[in-house]
């Protein structure tokens, strides 16, 4: 093989990587999935560094966070990870909203929608286990809610309940948070990304793709938005460090969960602890059924309009619930 042949092959591979994508890939709505992915990488990096400093025991978890927080970089690291975890959920919801608005779960993209739902559920589990691992009052209250919910499950409830109780609870939550959930996340993320590549970027509703841009421009936009969003979170992490509540006191309930769980908090206020799990299960079921309800290719169908408006109304209700719970005093739910 001579040098000219080698050059041709190299040129071909670079060009192939920087393939053309639809011009609307420049829009924020079509970049938010990539921004979320970068957020996950940052969460992973900060999380891995934190594992060197956290003592995952009932006695040591909170104190080890205290020690970590007594150093400026440690305080930033933990606060950035904490703020990022909440922003990560927000970005996932934003990504999902764009997909609902553009109907990008229809046709060949249906299976990728299901992978996305799975990833979102795991992200919620990340947020939950992360808050329990620090084993402060908030973590303890979240944990006790989980125990009471698991106890209500038939057949599998009692063994799982036994598994998550006892002195090793923090260690088991830590292992779930740092090993089990990341593995599950990657297990779903890989097909999610592969299917995205195979299907290509979803079209803008009602518009034909006429212009294209290079993939590098799309990636540039993703990084641009990521720099702004995560730079802001980094600044806020130092300005407003993540709260660490006092050590847990049994029998009291004085904290509120991270913002996304405030919707559950409202349902718990209305229907009690017994039906708390019913609501997220219904939401997941609704999301799973969405591609079956709205399956027509027509962007202007009546079903499409009903789905989009229902989504907007449900989201408006959730935002109202979150604000309402955020401004009202905590309520005792645990028995």
């Amino acid at each position: 093989m001579d040098n000219n042949e080698e050059d041709t092959e190299l040129k071909w591979s670079v060009k192939d990587f920087n393939y053309p994508v639809p011009a609307h890939a420049k829009q924020f709505g079509y970049s938010v999935g990539g921004v979320t992915f970068i957020g996950f990488i940052l969460l992973m990096i900060t999380g891995i560094i934190m594992t060197f400093f956290i003592t995952p025991t009932v006695d040591g978890a909170r104190d080890s966070i205290m020690v970590l927080s007594s150093k400026p970089w440690g305080l930033w690291l933990r606060s950035f990870h904490s703020w990022m975890s909440e922003a990560f959920i927000f970005l996932i919801i934003l990504h999902m909203t764009r997909i609902v608005f553009t109907g990008s779960y229809r046709g060949s993209r249906k299976s990728n929608w299901f992978y996305g739902i799975g990833l979102m559920v795991i992200a919620f589990a990340f947020l939950f286990t992360g808050s329990v691992v620090k084993w402060d009052q908030e973590g303890y209250e979240a944990y006790m809610h989980a125990v009471e919910q698991v106890d209500l499950l038939p057949v599998i409830g009692p063994p799982i309940s036994a598994f998550i109780q006892g002195t090793t609870v923090v260690m088991r939550m830590f292992v779930t948070h740092t090993i089990v959930l990341p593995l599950l996340f990657f297990l779903l993320l890989i097909p999610h990304l592969v299917l995205m590549k195979l299907n290509g970027l979803s079209p803008l509703p009602g518009k034909k793709v006429t212009q294209k841009i290079k993939l590098s421009t799309h990636i540039g936009k993703i990084f641009g938005w990521s720099f702004i969003i995560y730079g802001l979170i980094s600044f806020l992490a130092m300005q407003y460090p993540a709260v660490l509540y006092p050590g847990p006191y049994s029998g009291t309930e004085i904290t509120k969960p991270p913002w996304i769980f405030l919707v559950l908090y409202q349902f718990e206020n209305w229907f009690g602890m017994k039906y708390l799990s019913v609501f997220p299960l219904l939401m997941i079921l609704g999301l799973i059924l969405l591609p079956y309800i709205d399956s027509k290719k027509d962007d202007y169908s009546i079903t499409r309009k009903i789905v989009v408006w229902s989504y907007i109304i449900i989201m408006a209700i959730f935002i109202t619930m979150i604000i309402n719970i955020a401004i009202t005093p905590p309520v005792k739910h645990l028995g």
Binding site: P20, A23, V58, D59, R62, D63, M66, S69, S70, K71, P72, W73, L75, W76, Y140, V155, I156, P158, P159, I160, S161, A162, F163, Q165, G166, T167, T168, V169, V209, T210, Q211, K212, I213, K214, S216, T217, G220, K221, F223, G224, W225, S226, F227, I228, I229, Y230, G231, L232, S234, F235, M238, Q239, P241, L244, P246, G247, P248, Y249, S250
Partner: protein
Amino acid sequence: MLFSPIVTMAQEGDEPKEKVEKVTEKLLQEQTQSDSPEHTEDTQTKKDFAEITKAVEKGTVPTIIKVISLAVIIAGFAILYLPRKKKEVSNG
């Protein structure tokens, strides 16, 4: 069901489920109801978290972190909005 033999393994040896369920509650009560000097010291440490963060915030490093963060934000705006050579390619 496949995993139930594994998850039913008691954490403190082979203790019955009821006993296992009590462990967390008991441990917490021991932590919170003790009047020992160690416990008083521990409670004091826990109360001091807000003071720790305030002390840390006064240093130089937090300012450096904030400056770096702002630089990252500005870099993001530059990536998004600074005019660059047009890369659009026509379809076909």
